[in-house]
Symmetry: C2
Subunit: 371 residues, 2 copies
């Protein structure tokens, strides 16, 4: 047994000052935590609610200052340069650990890990030349998706290949990056699991979430998903990944449900958009449990409280009136300027009965602003 | 119909920077609101999560700056000097309005209003001299409670009179203040109601809360109280007060339950300690609905989600481990230094079944730190 931790007055550093850092800070203040976010952007939205260090992610002075002023450091995005991670980890506890972030940064390493752990994945092949692309297509068949191994998010750095004629254009666009070709998965639906793991190995799981993406961006999550038969498998997969990486904090894994079989699509080594519903829809939110894990505190209950749906606000916020007037609706404005394709907020609808949820969703979805 | 309000980027000023202001700010950031608190204390705990103006409550320059930088101003305590209120209200919308604060600042004005509205109160009499004290005792009988009309909280500024021999000592201690003598009420239990009212008169009520005070300080609240037969009367009383004062924001009224009759003890023109359970135990918290009312937004549902109990942490926080390890427990550290009798935090326990609540309470209450 380690010594009991007193969170009161601990300072948590967060690399990245976007909406995830903002929601982490808001969830952590009641625990008595303080926050410092590192972000080069003048208008980083977490800087509105926490102390911000303005600095590049690979600026050694900024990293040193963050390490010096914080008791523990975590991340609100995974694409931090490896050298920066090592720099930080030499000076201050970092969670999740650099190996976990390194694995999740690289689609090839991630899928290789899944396969080692007997977690089904789409058929895939590394692609480093035009010739390898042709060979890879022979493995995956068409359609397939050509992706950059690194720095992709919200559908960026991806090209769908529907026929052989698409290969040259996709190659022209993505050549120069390390790539991976993934076989297209004819999925029934998309599901994700969120889990939190402590340093002592204790792990908790929220119920599976059903997600709807359009244009590569998450639009809607429903939780708990109607997927009880898949919970045990999803948890076993997540547990295997967490243990293999000696992971501390919240991890999300996105799955394709292919007629009752879970195919792992990707993972995120951080709090995740498909877990935002936990702020109101679960006894303990993903944000609070991430902080509890990172700070060495006992994890909170992940019990779902009723039925929840999360609607992302993309591009700009809708007119708030009809949303705020909906019983059980919770509004989350991230304090970001409008911009096409940008996640600027979300709403969670929480109800005691599933049909109430669907009625309210049907009324609100048409009111969402265009992207 | 007034124009729809867009909360995004509105700035709310709060006079007072204690835990109520802190929880208001944390509840308001997801609405897109910004916050500036005015407090002379160097270590005001809301200043850890919001911009703080360091200034006295009657400093005209500080008040001018607050008015200039904010779209609306509210309060986290009611004992603001009347002149400061008028100063502010001349420059910026203030909610609740100065008349409501003025009434709640003065126990005599408050009880006079209750009586005008046919809300039962304890027997009471104004006391401005030693002679009036003797006459008042003849009205109220003994035991009775001698209280300062203004600036009392958490049992401060009060003396219980059990026999005639107590009068001289009580007078010696409290003389010099405007006083009120209140007849002792042999109550079965203490209940409070919280309500939020918008400028257009729309009013919502949370369910009645049962409160346990010791030494004049709230220790424990349970919500919803087992008091369905009293809900309608409590709501009618609160509605009468809110309408009479043209009130905007959250109001709390504390009642004695005397064998099924509600006797109004006092009111608080602000979010209230007996409403802290609403952060997790109600669909919309008192903090969020106060802000919605003050900013002209639709009020949120006050529906209770399961069964809640709130434990106050007085003097210092208990060792957090056993609390954080309790399923359904939510920890609230106010970021305040320990001090005897000071409210430094609270925990809310939320469960789906009432017996779970009582079992957990029985285990946790002995772990509370001494005052």
């Amino acid at each position: 047994m380690s010594e009991p931790v007193d969170p009161s007055g601990l300072t948590v550093g967060i690399v990245g000052g976007g909406q995830l850092a903002r929601m982490l800070a808001l969830a952590g203040y009641p625990l008595g935590l303080h926050f410092i976010v590192l972000d080069p952007a003048k208008d980083a939205c977490a800087g509105q609610v926490a102390t911000q260090l303005h600095g590049e992610y690979d600026d050694p002075d900024a990293l040193d200052e963050l390490a010096r002023r914080c008791d523990v450091v975590t991340f609100d995005f995974e694409n931090v340069p490896a050298a920066a991670l090592e720099h930080l980890a030499a000076e201050v506890p970092v969670a999740p650990n650099p190996r976990a972030l390194g694995t999740a940064q690289d689609r090839l390493a991630e899928k290789t890990l899944f396969r080692e752990l007997d977690i089904p994945t789409p058929v895939y092949a590394a692609v480093d030349s035009r010739e390898e692309l042709s060979i890879a297509v022979a493995t995956t068949g068409l359609p397939a998706v050509l992706k950059t191994r690194r720095f992709g998010y919200d559908g960026k750095g991806q090209r769908v290949l529907r026929e052989r004629a698409d290969l040259d254009a996709a190659w022209a666009e993505l050549a120069g990056h390390a790539l991976i070709l993934e076989g297209f998965v004819p999925f029934t639906r998309e599901l994700s699991i969120l889990a939190a793991r402590s340093a002592d190995g204790t792990t908790v799981f929220w119920p599976l979430v059903e997600n709807v993406h359009t244009g590569g961006i998450l639009r809607l999550s429903r939780a708990p998903a109607d997927a009880e038969a898949l919970e045990a498998t999803a948890r076993a997969h997540a547990q295997a990944v967490l243990d293999a990486l000696d992971y501390v904090g919240v991890l999300a894994i996105e799955f394709f449900d292919v007629g009752g079989t879970l195919i792992a699509n990707e993972m995120a080594p951080r709090v995740h958009n498909s877990g935002h519903w936990t702020l109101e829809g679960a006894e303990t939110s993903q944000f609070e449990n991430h902080l509890r894990a990172v700070c060495g505190l006992p994890l909170g209950s992940t019990h779902a409280v009723g039925y929840s749906a999360m609607l992302n606000f993309i591009g700009r916020l809708p007119e708030p009136g009809p949303f705020l007037a909906t019983p059980g609706l919770h509004w989350h404005d991230y304090g970001k300027a409008p911009r096409s394709g940008r996640k600027v907020g979300h709403a969670t609808l929480r109800t005691d009965q599933p049909d109430e949820l669907e009625h309210a969703l049907a009324r609100l979805q048409p009111l969402l602003a265009a992207d």
